[in-house]
């Protein structure tokens, strides 16, 4: 079975203007949403208390809200979590930041029909701030580390191309969480970092082929070399995206509620990452005028590799 024909030759870069417009629009929407709506940050980053409670029977939320309100937890956010038997209660930091709160919540709900404590998370405001800062730093350091590695292995324009693609992916993934207001917690941040790893993986494979082809196809125009390379790696790009998406959907549907946002972030990230390694990263190379001359010093090494 083959997804695409071997002889395929799609003019990807011919449509780079269109891709540029699509990316620009998506990034604008993401940034606008991030600035106006922000993210629906989980208590990992805001600080606060989260209590998950399981009942043996499906429950209505109103009695639970009432029981909490009677105990001065007026601003508690009460939702079903996964099933109608599971209830998640979130108390933002502003109201109370105290490790006792979870116990008080459980006490307040003692009369709502045999509740069972399933999960409690309490994050002090100070810790929330630290996690937020560390998370931001992690993304920045990951990008810098990658920039250096790619610059060392390829050339600085390739490094720039891959980092532009990565920033593109990160903005769109986070933007998706802002637009949909899906919960953004620590696991989603981990997923964003995994997306960086994945998308880069994708980009590197295309770049590798571009480098190889620049050396092989001396007579072709740069833009054609890039186009040929993308076409040659297209089957692999799609295959890997499909297998990764398959497992991510498995996680999304059977992995449980806790891992939901994580899987969602990765699904979005893999889709965006696949698109960006085809259009964004390579288009950046063309924009930066990469040509065969830039890659010549390494020629000898490559010739040795090609020996059977």
């Amino acid at each position: 079975m083959q997804l695409i024909k071997q002889s395929l030759n799609i003019d990807f870069l011919g449509k780079r203007k269109l891709a540029l417009i699509i990316s620009a629009v998506l990034i604008t929407v993401s940034l606008a949403s991030l600035m106006t709506r922000g993210l629906n940050l989980g208590i990992d980053f805001t600080g606060g208390t989260l209590v998950e409670i399981g009942y043996s029977q499906p429950v209505e939320l109103q009695p639970i809200r009432d029981a909490l309100a009677q105990n001065q937890f007026n601003d508690a956010i009460v939702q079903h979590f996964g099933t109608a038997r599971d209830v998640m209660i979130r108390l933002p930091s502003q109201a109370v930041a105290n490790s006792e709160v979870s116990n008080q919540v459980l006490q307040a709900l003692a009369n709502t029909g045999n509740p069972e404590m399933r999960r409690v998370e309490f994050v002090g405001p100070q810790v929330g701030e630290e996690l937020r800062d560390d998370g931001g730093l992690a993304v920045v350091y990951a990008l810098i580390g990658i920039l250096i590695y790619v610059a060392f292995r390829f050339e600085y324009r390739f490094a720039l191309g891959s980092v532009v693609a990565l920033i593109h992916d990160v903005i769109l993934t986070i933007g998706f969480f802002s637009v949909t207001q899906a919960a953004f917690d620590l696991t989603v941040l981990a997923a964003v970092l995994a997306v960086i790893g994945y998308s880069l993986n994708d980009t590197i494979v295309v770049f590798d082929r571009i480098r190889e082809n620049f050396r092989k196809l001396r007579k072709e125009e740069s833009i054609d070399v890039v186009n040929i390379s993308i076409n040659q790696t297209l089957a692999r790009t799609l295959m890997t995206s499909i297998t990764t998406l398959l497992v991510l959907f498995a996680l999304f549907f059977v992995g449980g509620e806790v891992i939901h946002s994580f899987a969602l972030a990765l699904i979005v990230g893999v889709l965006v990452g696949t698109y960006s390694s085809i259009y964004v990263a390579s288009a950046t190379l063309i924009l930066l005028n990469v040509s065969a001359v830039d890659l010549l010093p390494d020629e000898k090494e490559e010739v040795l590799d090609d020996l059977p």
Binding site: R118, V120, E121, F122, G124, G145, L186, V205, D208, L246
Partner: protein, 622 residues
């Protein structure tokens, strides 16, 4: 051209896979609900097993197996959780307080596997249930407490050296000693310098009346003090956690002022919190029977040498500021009921020095009133000027009992005046475990109940299995024989990841860790996809099957390496900056990437060489 590995190559690969399988096998065995018993002394009393058996048979219970494990603990395995809980309760009440009875899950790994140190992966708290706390040690309080000690020391040094001083007062993070004139200042400085030069810096300032000597901690001394406070708190926490009966607690320092506490299997978080952060101790002081406490309360002037306290019912009482005895001399404390009054009581035992001290002061003060002061730290939260939430610990001191000293007290005695027996039990426990050097606040908590833990395990397993099946079906459809080969590599990969996680001590599997494994499964085939696509390309360029296989592997290699190194970079960043669960994800992702390089390149090549490397090779099914 032939595609063949030398014999030793096949042997080495087989050996690696077999060893991997061996160490992955323990994970297939279920875990027995069990009770483990350890003794304060570190070794088990010889008759313990007998006593345990008799307690069990008395209650018509039976353990599946009783053994002594490597940590010198008696391990009792039970058929079900219900029996385990019942037995633990009976054993707790049946054995004396020198024994620690804890619940645990013991892997039912057969002896031949244990002989090669093969054990299952340790599961994180989100999978097995339990509590994770991050505690912040209040270092300002630690410094302030130390300065309190220095205050007393300053006074006695100055007295010993016959230096006249106006006052010695602890003010914020410095200690002020005020002298009348230059001469006494100089004498005081010399005396104090001689004693405390190593720890304190002295500066001189002009006071309203006289001259003040300001003493502050040297940086090194302060660091040492904080280090000590942290260490002392960890030691105390260990003892308290032991009292809770937790099987494999983790208590570790994090940074300069934080402590991580992980208590697997603990459900009663309210009790755990109360115990961890609590700082309760006792002080014994004489009552100033001449003083008028009500007058002191209304005027705000307490007589010199006195301190104003309140009883639990709010009655003010004047106590001597000199402490007769403080909690640090207490070696044992047990709660019970006072025979005479039938109220909750705490029975206290003092150490040698404490009992000498106490018998002297009580002997000197027979027929006088003595008060027992109960001191507890409570954490309060408030908003500062910027509206930021802050916490501080507040010391609550209450007089719980006033009684006339009838007789000389010494090594053992009892105190009453506590409201409930629950309070008596808590106080006894805190006195037993020793005091915290500085108060602590819980700044992060993550608790997972047992049912959610099991659900997380099930869902994790299901997603791994489903994800793998989907990928494997897809690979066979797409690459046929080569797809099958990639699937074998994928399974090998999973076995190796599990084996490595089981072998690394300290590696724990968390839910994000499982997500990492699932993700690796999806990405592991990437290397094979790269290779197989190359082989297809080579074939369509008209190369021979053998040459295509060879070139496919050779050309894909550098791409695979580049792609994986970059993902590894991201994983390392995650590990460095992530906390708890994120670290788990980073670990499995890294291990997965490394294993997949091995399986996707070497294992598949070996299989393909075996199948297609023969002289009359069939045409490639790719």
């Amino acid at each position: 051209m032939m595609n063949r590995y030398p014999i030793w190559g096949y042997l080495a690969l087989t050996a690696v896979i077999l060893i991997g399988a061996l160490y992955a096998i323990p994970n297939l065995y279920p875990e027995d609900p069990s009770v483990q018993i350890s003794h304060d002394s570190g070794s088990l009393p010889a008759d313990l097993k007998q006593r345990v058996e008799s307690i069990l048979s008395l209650n018509e219970m039976e353990a599946k197996q009783i053994e002594v494990n490597q940590q010198q603990q008696l391990l009792l395995r039970f058929d079900n959780t219900e029996l385990q809980l019942q037995a633990a309760d009976e054993l707790k009440s049946g054995l004396n307080s020198e024994h620690i009875v804890a619940l645990n899950l013991a892997p039912a790994v057969p002896a031949w596997l244990r002989a090669v140190n093969a054990s299952p992966m340790s599961l994180g708290l989100d999978l097995r249930g339990g509590v994770h706390f991050l505690l912040q040690v209040d270092m300002t309080a630690a410094v302030s407490k130390a300065l309190d000690r220095y205050e007393a020391d300053f006074r006695s040094v100055l007295r010993e050296n016959k230096v006249r001083y106006i006052s010695v007062k602890h003010n914020g993070d410095v200690l002020n000693a005020t002298f009348k004139d230059e001469e006494s200042y100089q004498q005081g400085l010399d005396a104090l310098k001689e004693n405390f030069r190593l720890d304190l810096d002295f500066t001189k300032i002009k006071a309203e009346r006289g001259i003040t000597l300001v003493a502050a901690f040297k940086l090194a001394a302060q660091q040492e003090l904080q280090n000590f406070a942290l260490q002392q708190n960890i030691t105390t926490l260990r003892k308290r956690v032991n009292e809770l009966g937790v099987a494999e607690p983790v208590i570790q320092r994090q940074g300069t002022d934080r402590i991580v506490v992980q208590l697997p299997g603990v459900q009663d978080t309210a009790r755990a919190k109360e115990l961890l952060g609590a700082t309760a101790t006792l002080e014994f002081r004489l009552v100033d029977e001449q003083g008028d406490a009500f007058a002191a309360e209304s005027s705000g002037n307490t007589p010199i040498g006195d301190k104003l306290y309140y009883e639990r019912n709010g009655t003010p009482v004047l106590l001597k500021s000199r402490v007769m005895l403080s909690g640090e001399y207490i070696t044992d404390a047990a709660s019970g009921i006072d025979q005479d009054t039938a109220t909750p009581a705490v029975f206290i035992t003092l150490d040698g020095k404490g009992s000498r001290l106490f018998s002297k002061v009580t002997g000197d003060n027979i027929k006088r009133l003595m008060a027992v002061v109960f001191i507890e730290s409570k954490t309060e939260y408030f908003k500062d000027e910027q509206g930021q939430l802050q916490s501080r610990s507040r010391k609550v001191e209450e007089v719980i009992n006033i009684a006339r000293i009838q007789d000389q007290l010494s090594k053992r005695f009892q105190i009453t005046g506590l409201d409930t027996s629950r309070e008596a039990r808590k106080l006894a426990l805190l006195l037993r475990a020793g005091a915290l050097a500085a108060p602590m606040n819980i700044i992060e908590e993550r608790t997972v109940g047992p049912s959610l833990g099991q659900q997380n395990i099930d869902q994790g397993k299901n997603s791994v299995v489903l994800g793998m099946l989907l990928v494997m079906i897809f690979m066979v459809l797409y690459y046929r024989v080569f797809g099958l080969v990639a699937n074998v590599a994928l399974i090998t990969n999973l076995v190796l990841i599990i084996a490595i996680l089981s072998m690394i001590p300290g590696a724990t599997l968390t839910l994000p860790g499982i997500a990492g494994i699932v993700l690796t499964v999806g990405m592991a085939v990437d290397a094979n996809v790269l290779i197989f696509e190359r082989i297809r390309e080579e074939l369509s360029n008209g190369n021979s099957p053998q040459a295509s296989i060879h070139a496919g592997y050779a050309k894909a290699l550098s791409t695979i390496a580049d792609a994986n190194v970059t993902t590894l970079l991201a994983a390392i960043v995650l590990f460095t900056f992530g906390t708890g669960p994120i670290k788990g994800f980073a670990v499995t992702l890294s291990i997965g990437i490394l294993c997949s390089m091995f399986t996707a390149i070497l294992v598949t090549r070996a299989l393909i060489n075996l199948y297609y490397g023969r002289k009359q090779a069939p045409s490639l099914a790719i």
